[in-house]
């Protein structure tokens, strides 16, 4: 089973660490992400979470996404030329697929280990990589 509540703490403005409060808005956002079958944009999260807590504002979504990333409960999925998406963290290393028709993003399984052997020029050190495949999804 999953933890009912993200672990915190996060870094507060004064440099002080604290655990974010468990508000209805934050729960709505967490449930939305957990229920999502694919990485979601802030706007998709807002729309969907609104049905769980009406009156939810976009600023609250952004603020919670930030703290949930900081807590390590979600991670940001960055794609070329696209707004970031968010998904539950803690999965094993994987990459993503974006449908060029519907623009939705899907999770792929695993990672060809050939990638981690790609090297950069002398003096450059590689820390991580991002791979995105593009094409048509099953629906399009």
């Amino acid at each position: 089973m999953k933890a009912k509540r993200p672990p915190g703490p996060v870094q507060g403005p004064g440099g002080r660490a604290f655990t974010p409060r468990d508000t209805p808005q934050r729960r709505a956002i967490r449930k939305t992400i957990e229920a999502g079958a694919r990485p979601l944009t802030p706007n998709e999260i807002l729309d969907s979470a609104k049905s769980r807590h009406r009156g939810l504002g976009i600023a609250t979504v952004y603020r919670n996404l930030k703290s949930l990333v900081e807590e390590g409960w979600i991670s940001e999925v960055a794609l070329p030329n696209e707004a970031p998406r968010y998904e539950r963290a803690g999965k094993h290393h994987h990459h993503h697929f974006q449908c060029s028709a519907c623009r939705r993003v899907f999770e792929l399984e695993g990672c060809a280990d050939a990638i981690s052997r790609i090297s950069a020029p002398d003096g450059f050190s590689v820390e991580r990589h991002e791979l995105t495949l593009f094409g048509r999804c099953a629906d399009c």
Copy 2:
């Protein structure tokens, strides 16, 4: 040697195709991109091209980048979580490296062909891929 002038044509507003005029501003932008050792952002292009043609405006840079992409003279380098960069087109398939310290983007050579063998779930078709490596560049 390189063509002194991009080939055109591009698609005009009326659906009519035409070749963009060879203005001093456009030449300054092209020379800047050609002289750049790495993919540049619109702002980097503006700053650098200003020294070749003062008074150049950012809107002109955006408009010319768009038509140069359409002509196939440059291509857009899209990176996760980053503003697009632009580089001369026509190079062979390659990927990019971004330094996590200075944020600059560098071109890598070639592509591990293992990547093109990565497959997506049933019903999905892969058309292309983007790979970005992250780490430290030689200067940082």
